[in-house]
């Protein structure tokens, strides 16, 4: 075979020698006459060819008989016989609705026309050059049904991605993220007090496209990891032709998009003392005397102002891309520095990428794609959120009536004139003296070889690694806050995570006549493991030397640990068949074996099937001239969830210690019958493209997850660690509708206006829990069969009685009861109706609020791009309606049982009969008013102006003089404004990380940064 092939080639070249070769020039344009750059111009039946330059021109050696094949992504290819022409101008027709576009769907590429699944594509441009800390944040509002929630404005805080709702209760609901074939580590990674988003290691500017696989037909090829959807990220690659060099840079600053107002010094004294004296206690708050003159010195410190600043941000990226002959390349180096508005908090990333492909021989293509990055994050030394020295707990609750500094410039650490109850340590001191820094190195790499066995049949073997090593360095100064009682603490963690994945696929693509086949067979093995080393030093001697060294600390504690240890073996296959590009069917099957299950339950099988009908290809549709393309799709499939920990099924003991005596304790009760959690998903939808360019994609889905792997909360009397046992119980359902519309509203030579809109409506319901259909409670939410997942479960608030200023609550029967803390314990609760003494409103009076869940009912994004001559503008909106947020921040800032600083809302407190307010009479010690109740539940609706850009491209005529191809300067604002009625920091705030039960709790999460940048894109 090889010999025959070689002979053919030889003959072909012979024949070309016989004809008269000459240089043929030409230009490739689109229907509007605009140049098509990087189009391929190839001589038919040979490998000779070239690509067009940026002006669409090409030149090639050819003769009269030469047939040129001109093709470019997004256009129908064209064949031209050279004949006698010396200059050939070719117009390429755009493929309707980008149907020629190739979409990556797992282990193969399909033409968009042949796609049967629900796949959304986000172009790399949409995530590049945004002043966000990781690319996942930039996906917010970009694809229908993809909810991206950034937990707070803290560097590295959790970014939750939910594709079509939560697919699980206690297992992960975060989608699988695959970058160039590497299933990457995401989420937290052995941090100490600051969250870490490992996706921040990836340079967003290297991304070519993000494909979101939403339905089972698309995701099922990922089998056990597909339930929560899949994000496939493809990084850029070079195009053969002239090299392009680009520079992208921006610089700017950020500040807090929102602050919560708390009392100033004077207000604090008044409110706290009113609380105290109303309850018969002596006044607690007073100015202190700092200068020793015997007179109190009035200070009013705004701790938020002390800790928040204008942070600076900058980004620089140089990319080169191109190719010559058989090799293409893309390389970049990037530097990103984000200084948050919160003092100290900062993220800095340097990265380098090289993507290289080469056609080694005419049957073998090899390639390598790799990124190396270094990420430094500078966290808050005393933790985040609600911890005593955390941000924003510290600045919101510290005494406002004390100074920041002593006269000698050192930090003031004391109670001022206040009674020493509840002192929040000087927030500025803990912030500047303590730290929690992390230095991450990460290598993401893929190497592959792809061989053509026979025409249409390709064998590909790919080996991918994700290697992450991090060093965390944390320190508490002995002089203040957490380090105070321990005389200084230093902790370090050195940890490493390694993933390797080896994938082999056979892919057969055949088009014969009306039949279009794409057949895939594959194997994949993935191994993840991680190890770490922890060192703790307590009681520092020389505070300028902080390494954990027994010589410098009173005591040192060391530990080795494992972070991750699991493996997955998979076998999969699929067939995609198209008839006349009109009827399309897909079938996929994957078998997965996960190390963490018992041997008997290790294997899971995940089939899916889908059909599509391109109605527009039918003859009866030809008369409907307005529709260019219309495809109906339906799919059903089963996916799994392997995001369940390393050894959930195995009952285990771990070594422990009883002080100096070695011991061992149960760490997991285990469950030998534990098996795969399975999600069956039905999807029905259509993709429609109108002649005028309007594209509509619509999907309905019904996603049912059963055999949920649940950390089932069980009675403490069973004596299992954490009172949970992992069991397959329960079933949940997510149903929803998704709509994406992309419309060129206006398109003339000088002015274009494009609109992209997406929206999703999702409803979830718990079908069953365990065999008893028990309630599962977590935080302030409940999972109860027949109700919405994570519905809030709270005591109902009855308002403040205007007659007497007492807080009132409803008992389970709806009876309104008021609480008077000044009365003896037995008679504090009375009915509002007639004031008779009654039983207390307690936890038994909680009610399930089915319509109030942390999940939005409708959410999405609206993105508009406008261009007028050389000026362009982009406006991205994000919206979300129907969710509820439990404002635990406000609840704490309104507490009547502490003397920490309060929210200004407390100034609305009831003072005299007739006052209409929702803040009761001030009374220190009343722990009922600020208890967990509906009082703190708020609507989380919002519309956010997520990104606005205004750009100007310098005219080409000017650029040619300086030999540049592109210069665009722009200004941009991120998180410019959020329209919301929510009283807390941010309606998206989430204190509980990546969970499904317990979402929607805002407990001292810092607001998102608002960032303004100016930038430039330059192309050589």
């Amino acid at each position: 075979m090889r010999k025959v092939l070689l002979l053919c080639l030889f003959l072909a070249s012979m024949s070309s020698l016989l004809a008269q070769d000459r240089t043929v020039k030409g230009r490739v344009t689109n229907e509007k006459g605009e140049a098509v750059s990087s189009a391929s111009v190839r001589i038919k039946n040979t490998k000779a060819g070239t690509v067009t330059g940026s002006d669409g021109s090409f030149s090639i050696i050819a003769n009269d008989k030469t047939i040129l094949i001109i093709s470019s992504l997004g256009f129908e290819s064209n064949e031209v016989t050279v004949g006698s022409q010396t200059e050939i101008n070719i117009e390429l027709k755009a493929t309707a609705g980008n149907l020629g576009e190739v979409v990556v769907v797992g282990y193969q590429q399909l033409r968009k026309a042949n796609l049967t699944g629900a796949v959304a594509r986000v172009d790399g441009k949409e995530v590049a050059n945004r002043p966000v800390m990781s690319f996942d944040q930039a996906l917010t509002g970009k694809a229908a049904g993809v909810q991206v929630n950034t937990s707070s404005g803290l560097v590295g805080d959790n970014v939750l991605i939910r594709i079509r709702g939560a697919a699980s209760i206690s297992s992960g609901s975060q989608p699988l993220i695959v970058i160039d074939g590497v299933p990457v580590t995401q989420g937290n990674d052995q941090q100490l007090y600051n969250p870490v988003n490992t996706l921040a290691d990836i340079n967003p500017n290297d991304i070519e496209s993000v494909e979101v696989l939403k339905d089972a037909s698309a995701a099922a090829i990922y089998g056990s990891r597909g339930s929560a959807g899949v994000l496939l990220i493809t990084t850029k690659k070079g195009k053969s032709g002239t090299a392009t060099v680009s520079y992208d840079g921006y610089t700017g600053f950020s500040n807090a998009s929102r602050m919560m107002k708390v009392l100033d010094g004077e207000q604090y004294n008044t409110v706290i003392n009113k609380l105290a004296t109303n309850s018969g206690s002596p006044p607690y708050a007073a100015y202190g005397d700092y200068d020793g003159d015997g007179q109190p010195d009035a200070y009013s410190t705004n701790w938020q102002d002390e800790l928040y600043r204008n942070g600076g941000t900058q980004n620089h990226q140089v990319g080169i891309s191109g190719g010559s002959g058989k090799t293409t390349y893309y390389g970049s180096i990037g530097y990103n520095d984000f200084k948050n508005y919160i003092m100290v908090n900062r993220l800095r990333r340097s990265s380098a990428r090289l993507n290289l492909t080469t056609q080694a021989t005419n049957w073998l293509e090899t390639g390598i794609k790799m990124q190396y990055s270094q990420t430094n994050s500078f966290g808050l030394g005393s933790g985040t959120g609600g911890s005593l020295s955390g941000v924003p707990f510290g600045p919101l609750t510290a005494y406002p009536n004390v100074p920041v500094y002593n006269d000698d410039g050192s930090y003031y650490i004391g109670n001022g004139g206040n009674s020493p109850l509840n002192n929040t340590p000087n927030p500025l001191a803990v912030q500047t003296l303590n730290y929690d820094n992390r230095d991450t190195r990460r290598l993401l790499g893929t190497i592959y070889g792809e061989a053509k066995i026979i025409e249409g049949l390709r064998f590909k073997s790919q080996y991918a690694v994700d290697q992450l090593s991090a060093y965390t360095d944390q320190y508490w100064d002995p002089s203040v806050g957490d380090g105070n009682g321990s005389a200084g603490i230093a902790q370090t963690v050195a940890n490493e995570k390694r993933i390797w994945s080896w994938t082999n696929t056979l892919n057969y693509v055949q088009k014969s006549g009306d039949h279009d086949f794409n057949v895939l067979l594959g194997t994949e093995y993935t191994r993840r493991n991680g190890t770490g080393f922890y060192a703790l030093g307590i009681g520092i001697n020389d505070v300028s030397l902080r390494l954990v060294d027994p010589a410098n600390y009173a005591s040192v504690n060391l530990q080795n640990f494992n972070t991750e240890n699991n493996g997955l073996a998979s076998y999969f296959g699929g067939i995609n068949y198209g008839f006349k590009s009109k009827y399309i069917a897909t079938f996929n099957l994957r078998a997965d074996a996960y190390s963490g299950f018992g041997k008997d339950n290790r294997w899971g099988y995940f089939p899916s099937g889908a059909i599509a009908w391109r109605i527009s290809k039918e003859t009866f549709m030809e008369s409907v001239s307005s529709i260019a393309d219309l495809k109906l799709r339906a799919s059903y499939g089963i996916t799994g969830n392997s995001n369940i920990g390393d050894f959930p099924a195995l009952a285990t003991f771990i070594p422990t210690q009883y002080a100096d005596i070695p011991s061992s304790n149960l760490s997991n009760p285990g469950n030998t019958s534990l098996k795969w959690e399975k999600t069956g998903q039905l999807d029905i939808g259509f993709d429609m493209t109108l002649r005028k360019g309007l594209q509509i994609t619509f999907d309905y889905y019904n996603k049912e997850t059963k055999d949920l792997i649940l950390a089932n909360p069980v009675l403490a009397t069973l004596g299992f660690p954490g009172n949970v046992i992992t069991q397959n119980i329960g079933q949940i359902r997510n149903q929803g509708l998704e709509l994406s519309v992309s419309a060129p509203i206006f398109a003339t030579k000088n002015f274009t206006w494009d609109l992209n809109f997406n929206t999703a409506w999702n409803k979830n319901k718990v079908i069953s829990t365990n065999s008893n259909n028990d309630d599962i409670l977590g935080g302030n939410a409940i999972i109860r069969p027949g109700h919405n997942l994570g519905a809030f479960f709270l005591i109902r608030w009855g308002g403040v009685n205007p007659d007497n200023g007492l807080p009132t609550f409803l008992d389970k029967n709806g009876e309104r009861k008021q609480y008077d803390h000044s009365k003896p314990a037995a008679s504090r609760w009375t009915t509002v109706k007639d004031g008779t003494v009654t039983t207390a409103v307690t936890a038994t009076d909680r009610v399930l609020m089915n319509d109030k869940t942390p999940y939005p009912k409708i959410f999405g994004g609206l993105s508009q791009t406008l261009r007028y001559r050389n000026i362009d503008m982009l406006v991205d909106l994000q919206y979300s309606f129907g969710s509820y947020v439990y404002n635990s921040t406000l609840q704490n800032l309104m507490s009547f049982t502490s003397t920490r600083n309060k929210s200004v809302h407390i100034l609305d407190a009831w003072a005299k009969p007739g006052d209409q307010t929702d803040v009761p009479r001030l009374y220190f010690g009343d722990n009922q008013f600020a208890q967990v109740s509906e009082r703190w539940l708020e609507k989380g609706d919002f519309v956010r102006i997520r990104n606005i850009q205004l750009g100007y491209s310098i005219p080409k005529a000017l650029l040619e003089k300086v030999q540049l191809t592109r210069v665009r300067i722009y200004a941009q604002a991120q998180n410019l404004f959020t329209f919301t009625g929510y009283k807390g920091m941010d309606p998206e705030a989430n204190a509980n990380g990546n969970v499904n039960l317990g979402l929607g709790v805002d407990f001292f999460r810092p607001a998102l940064p608002r960032t303004y940048t100016i930038g430039v894109n330059i192309g050589l």
Binding site: G485, I538, S595, Q657, Y658, A659, S663, N665, P669, A716
Partner: protein, 489 residues
């Protein structure tokens, strides 16, 4: 060439099986052991039994916090740092985290003991019969200790009803390995719980050694002395003074080893003093294993630690604490003023906030002397000389100008009982006794100051609903009505 490619792909697909093994069967944990193997060797069984003590050492339980709660609801300290919220004000809600922490830790220790008893019995061939007896006795001791603390935290005191027929806590005496409905048990009565505690302790007493392998283990693991001492306390709480007297006398008589007071007050506290003859049983902590900065005794109590818990003027004032002489040595050895917070006094019993290695003193010889004194005094018809002698052993160590007690010091038996109770309050202060010493004799909590140390809280009448902790709401919810909540919550 094509053959080569075919071969390559076939080899690749076949080579798969070894790879499959590598990513599935060969993935074995190296930081934990399968529970099938947890009792498979002598060493593993010994470790598992020690794990029972480790459960008691939980940061929410006997490594310190449990002792704090008992004192914090008494009148001798106040929550200066407002750290414990509603607990000292007897005003907790049913979802409060403190009762949940105690409940979970207590039942975890009970489950560990039950699991160990089952594990030992199932693997008896690995051990000598003598060793089996000791290990099972230790496990029963651990279970009894847990039941004792739990029943007193979550149920009204034994003397609340005449037959102690009021609700106690669920009695869990079997080992579970799955979500077994048998784990959902209703609350037994307090009498039934006490009966079980006594049964476990008596059985343990029979098989426990006088001494463990070394001094460290003798002071930190169960011995005949610690089982007897806890039994004496149990009888004292039952107001069964005859048994309390007999058992404490056995320890005083040296039946279970030699115990004596250190020459100075506070002699059993502070680094280096934990293993003296004054200690009967403590829960040890170490630099490497302690309840961290937020939960340890020295962090809460020491003026250089978090210093959450200040000594109340109720304790220092001779009007409200009449037996605490103004020149009592314990005023200087046990209390110290804070430099950072002038006017605030803290105890010096816990000395090591830095590394938090202070042991939690569960049973000290002074308690035995005072239990003996009290039981004897209560049983006697008049003023008992023996009771006075035992009290003096404790009191004389700290006494300066006040005369030693003699029979003539007291006109009535009750005066003597009051003096012994007063001595007990001072000597055992901050060691987790106060509230329960009040409640076991139906006392009220009076002269208790709020978190500012200034405002007096209302008198907590004996038997008030909230003088005991709520059963954690989460447990009530999970039990589906089997567990009943304490009145008032």
């Amino acid at each position: 060439m094509r053959q080569f490619l075919y071969t390559l792909s076939i080899v690749t697909f076949l080579g798969a099986t070894s790879c499959q093994k590598k990513v599935t069967d060969n993935v074995i944990p190296n930081d934990r052991v399968s529970s099938d193997l947890a009792f498979s060797t002598t060493q593993k069984i010994e470790s598992a039994v020690a794990g029972g003590y480790n459960s008691l050492q939980d940061l929410n339980f006997l490594s310190g916090r449990a002792l704090v709660y008992i004192d914090l609801q008494g009148e001798d300290i106040f929550d200066r740092g407002n750290f414990f919220g509603d607990l000292p004000r007897f005003n907790m809600l049913s979802n409060n985290g403190i009762p949940a922490g105690v409940w979970n830790a207590g039942y975890s220790a009970i489950a560990t003991a039950n699991r160990n008893i089952a594990g030992i019995e199932a693997n008896a061939s690995l051990l000598t019969s003598a060793r089996i007896k000791v290990l099972i006795a230790e496990s029963k001791f651990i279970r009894a200790v847990s039941l004792f603390y739990l029943v007193n935290f979550f149920a009204q005191p034994f003397v609340f009803t005449p037959e102690a027929s009021h609700a106690g806590i669920p009695l869990i005496l079997q080992s579970f390995s799955s979500n077994d409905p048998a784990g959902n048990k209703p609350r037994s009565t307090v009498a039934e719980v006490y009966t079980q505690i006594i049964k476990d302790l008596q059985e343990a007493l029979t098989d426990l050694p006088v001494q463990q392998d070394d001094l460290y283990s003798t002071k930190t693991r169960a011995t005949k002395a610690s089982a007897t001492a806890l039994l004496a306390r149990t009888y004292l709480y039952k107001n069964d003074y005859a048994n309390a007297k007999t058992l404490s006398k056995q320890i005083i008589d040296g039946l279970y080893g030699t115990f004596a007071l250190q020459p100075t007050p506070n002699g059993a506290f502070g680094t280096g003093n934990f293993q003296t003859s004054e200690t009967i049983w403590s829960i040890p902590n170490s630099v490497n294993d302690n309840p961290n900065t937020n939960n340890s005794l020295p962090q809460h109590y020491n003026r250089s630690g978090r210093a959450d818990l200040a000594v109340s003027k109720s304790f220092t004032n001779t009007v409200t604490n009449p037996y605490f002489a103004t020149d009592d040595r314990r005023r200087t050895t046990m209390l110290i003023e804070s430099a950072a917070l002038p006017g605030y006094f803290f105890t010096t019993k816990y000395t090591d906030p830095q590394t938090r290695a202070d042991w939690a003193p569960i049973i000290r010889y002074a308690e035995i002397l005072l239990t003996y004194a009290e039981a004897t005094a209560r049983l006697a018809t008049g003023v008992d000389a023996d009771a006075i002698a035992a009290t003096n052993l404790v009191r004389d160590r700290s006494r300066v100008s006040a005369p030693a007690y003699t029979v003539a010091s007291f006109t009535t038996k009750d005066e003597l009982i009051n003096a012994i109770a007063g001595e007990r309050r001072i000597e055992l202060a901050f060691e987790g006794h106060r509230l329960w010493d009040i409640l076991r004799v139906k006392g009220n909590v009076t002269n208790k100051y709020d978190n500012n140390g200034v405002t007096l809280l209302p008198v907590q009448i004996f038997g008030s609903d909230k003088s005991i902790m709520p059963i954690p709401q989460a447990e009530i919810d999970k039990s589906k009505g089997v567990l009943t909540q304490n009145k008032g919550y």
